[in-house]
Symmetry: C2
């Protein structure tokens, strides 16, 4: 049995605190020593990618203590317990099985007589069969015409992850001949969200996926009804245009209002659900089931690496440890995620949810307040766009913000242009390389306004190309990083009690059952 | 003459520091006192909007010191100097005239014999004439067919602001019959950005705006060439599909490669340029010149309020002062911008640039290092989406993140659905009201995992509907907030030297003129 201990009770953490400001990366990254670091401080990732942490504030001594910390916190053993079906989500008394949707990592996990791996595979097969029939025209609209657009109705994890992955592969699929259907998303309870999507959608050829685990998510039910009304108004039969992704026990599961229901369960939380039917149905429809399977394979390859005890063979664990050093020793409250790939434009928003919702906690997994800071603020936009925007603060602001770059050697669509003797792709890569060094090393100038202090830490994940496999590997890398950080902070990364109070008060407002400040706000907003 | 002094030399700031943690909003916002605060702690904004700061950690005593600080820092006098054409951008020895593009606020500003207000109006007229001719079919493609899509090629300020505003009004324009052309944007040097846009654009009916003040922005020139190649390949004449927005002295100004050039100048920085031709041309083409004029009118109305000496009649100044209290006294490093409006989905990204690029500085306007923190990290996503994502951390994380909500009583598109006795719009408004109170007041629970500490400060801007006028007023409110904060921190909010080093190093990489770490990163990325 592993021992669940608070971070500040671990000897290795005490040793780590003694190493605050140990490494001046402005010095360490200069000259030949810098070159040596970039060559040596890298760890292979899944799918041919590499995690390079040369520009992080670590050296061999810090790394040795991080390795001690990993061992003392039993990070890999905890991951193995998770894979074996332990009740890791203590608050909700649930297993945590998103990795199982990708591959059988550990022992069979049987719940109420159901083998969960078999269950996930069965749902994938149902999604694949459905998608194949839609693509073949066997499942078609009232007139027997093919569906051309799929619209996912869901919010939070049912929106951000699937949307980020769709955008990440839409253009790759377009040039690789696997863009089977366009995908769109409706999430916000703001009625303009649904209105806007419907205003530009050919309803007669659109298939809608309603995604809600409980079948009671208010935003999603509302948007479902909004769409139903629009279908009826267009003389279309909603039950021939809608499928459900829900749990087997939800009211949506057996409803005749849907063509079919494909199932998820309580053991994969919303922000991890892109590997479940929540991502599987829409991505199989958009790109074909084979592409979705390739995403899962890439993710499973990252999950495999998370089993390695050595920090130098376990990139998500190393990434997690460095992050905790930055957060709890160096005292940096944010992390910027900066992919140099337009296709990853919404990937930071997905990670923002995955990370902040998982580790934005003040109590440990036993419900006791912790005496240290936990999950950081996550934000980011793609480069080079960000360079012309908020990078000014990252370079010359008064705060230090650790950065996580992502770059690929090749673009997805294969078209390029040569200007000033280099392609756009080379310019893109040159910029990310330049930024890492500029942030780390800075530059002195007599004019202090043109001076760069440097000392701003970053890592980079380098891949060959953003493909279904590398995208899946990236997704799982970050999921596992978050998991390992949750283990270190001893929090439950898999519940989200912080969303409840707002829901409760919103219901009171709608019932006009309010007083005090809430009543006045309600009046001001004319609710 | 005003005196430019560092924040920590001001007496009022010393007094403010003594008021750290003065107000416990969990207490202040409870019961009838809370109701009283919500009723009283609000200031009218332009265009019928209202800035409500009841849930901020202020009381009459804090507000009195903030008023002292405004006076001692001569905030309004500095704004008036700016409007009168003073060299506020000291680093680049430039005036700051984005407000002048909206209205003559102060004295005539004449530079090299040119009245700048007349210059901006002339460019607006050129943009309007051009747009009207395009809409009337007088300016058409090679076959005399109308242009239906406009594509803006630009990065940073030439992208984020215009894009955010286009998205903000696209659906409003659709239902109001003023969506004249679809607008798209190409920004990133990643060649997949241009490829993806072109793959879904009918080139024969597309008009491209190339936006670069200097005419030398590498990303933009590269994307321009990318588009030119595509037009030629489609047997189209690029010079009949492209116009330029640039400065009069740039190589693009007189080039025959463009149908026309419309001008900007050095006195409106990129992140403030949405009011100039940078925003004017694309928005006039998309929505018609009248709509763009309405945006400017709304902005001018906010600018008018910035002249008021009283903090209770100057919402952007009050917002700025509270932000400095939170940043420099309370010690919060971030601000979340949370619009409850799907149409404002990219408005936080624009503000992220506007704020972080303006005030992410470590030296004052004289180039001397400051001993206090300056601009915060800005991030945000629309609600209710964010509630199902990163709000968990905002509610229950270990750090406090001040929040800036925005809400409207009515939606833009007029369609809605009633579920459980309320419309989606009411649900949207109920949620934002509920969140403010949940964040401020929290809720105790025996189960600490379900406990909410409260004490998390927020403000809300409430408007009737997101229209061209209210959007312009919002834009200018935040621009002026940033300006006032820059005055308080005594930084130059209008240069961006922090972007230079990366550019320089990227050029070295592309020239293969590197050594040390930079060379190894270049090799790893196969540049």
């Amino acid at each position: 049995m592993v021992a669940w201990k608070n971070l500040d009770t671990l000897t290795a953490f005490e040793n780590l605190k003694a190493l605050k400001n140990k490494v001046d990366i402005k010095v360490a990254m200069a000259g030949e020593n810098g070159a040596k670091r970039v060559n040596e401080y890298k760890v292979p990732m899944a799918e041919g990618m590499s995690f390079n942490y040369a520009a992080k504030q670590v050296d061999d001594e810090v790394l040795a203590v991080l390795a001690d910390l990993a061992k003392e916190a039993e990070l890999v053993a905890k991951y193995k317990e998770l894979c074996n079906g332990a009740i890791i989500n203590t608050g909700e008394n649930r297993r945590v099985l998103h990795q199982l949707a990708r591959k059988q990592q550990g022992d069979a996990v049987v719940v109420d007589g159901v083998d969960k791996r078999a269950f996930y595979v069965e749902q994938q097969k149902k999604a694949a069969d459905f998608a194949n029939k839609v693509h073949a025209g066997e499942i078609a609209n009232e007139k027997g015409e093919p569906f051309t657009t799929v619209v996912q109705i869901g919010i939070g994890g049912s929106d951000l992850g699937p949307r980020a992955l769709y955008i990440a592969l839409e253009n790759w699929a377009r040039v690789n001949g696997t863009l089977k259907m366009n995908a769109k998303f409706i999430s916000n309870v703001d009625p303009d969200d649904a209105s806007a999507v419907l205003a530009t959608t050919d309803l007669a050829h659109a298939l809608f996926i309603v995604v809600s685990k409980s079948g009671t998510t208010l935003e999603t039910l509302t948007n479902e009804q909004f769409v139903r009304d629009a279908l009826v108004k267009a003389d279309l039969d909603p039950s021939k245009h809608m499928i459900a992704v829900t749990s087997e026990t939800s009211p949506m599961a057996k409803s005749t209002a849907f063509m079919q229901a494909i199932f998820m369960d309580d053991f994969i939380g919303g922000r991890y659900s892109v590997s479940s039917a929540v991502g599987g149905v829409v991505l199989s429809l958009a790109f074909g089931p084979e592409v979705f399977a390739r995403i899962l394979n890439g993710a499973a390859a990252s999950d495999d690496l998370a089993n390695n005890e050595s920090i130098f063979e376990n990139p998500s664990m190393l990434d997690a440890l460095i992050g905790v050093y930055e957060r709890n020793v160096q005292g940096y409250p944010e992390t910027a995620v900066l992919p140099y790939s337009q296709a990853l434009s919404r990937f930071p928003a997905h990670l923002q949810q995955a990370d902040m919702e998982s580790n934005g906690k003040s109590v440990n997994r036993f419900g006791e307040p912790v005496d240290y800071v936990t999950g950081p603020i996550i934000f980011g936009e793609p480069g080079t766009n960000g360079q012309h925007s908020f990078y000014q603060l990252l370079h010359q602001g008064t705060d230090i913000v650790p950065m996580q770059f992502i770059g690929f050697k090749e673009n997805q669509m294969g078209k390029d242009v040569v200007i000033e003797d280099s392609t756009s792709q080379k310019k893109l890569c040159a910029n990310v390389a330049a930024q890492i060094v500029a942030f780390a090393c800075g530059k002195d100038d007599e004019n202090k306004n043109k001076s760069f202090k440097g000392g701003r830490p970053s890592s980079i994940i380098i891949g060959d190309q953003l493909t279904p496999e590398s995208l899946g590997a990236l997704l799982a890398h970050f999921e596992n990083k978050i998991m390992f950080q949750g283990f270190l902070w001893n929090v439950n990364s898999f519940d989200q009690e912080g969303v409840q109070l707002g829901k409760l008060l919103a219901k009171k407002v709608l019932a006009h059952d309010t007083e005090g400040a809430l009543k006045v706000y309600s009046d001001l907003l004319e609710i």
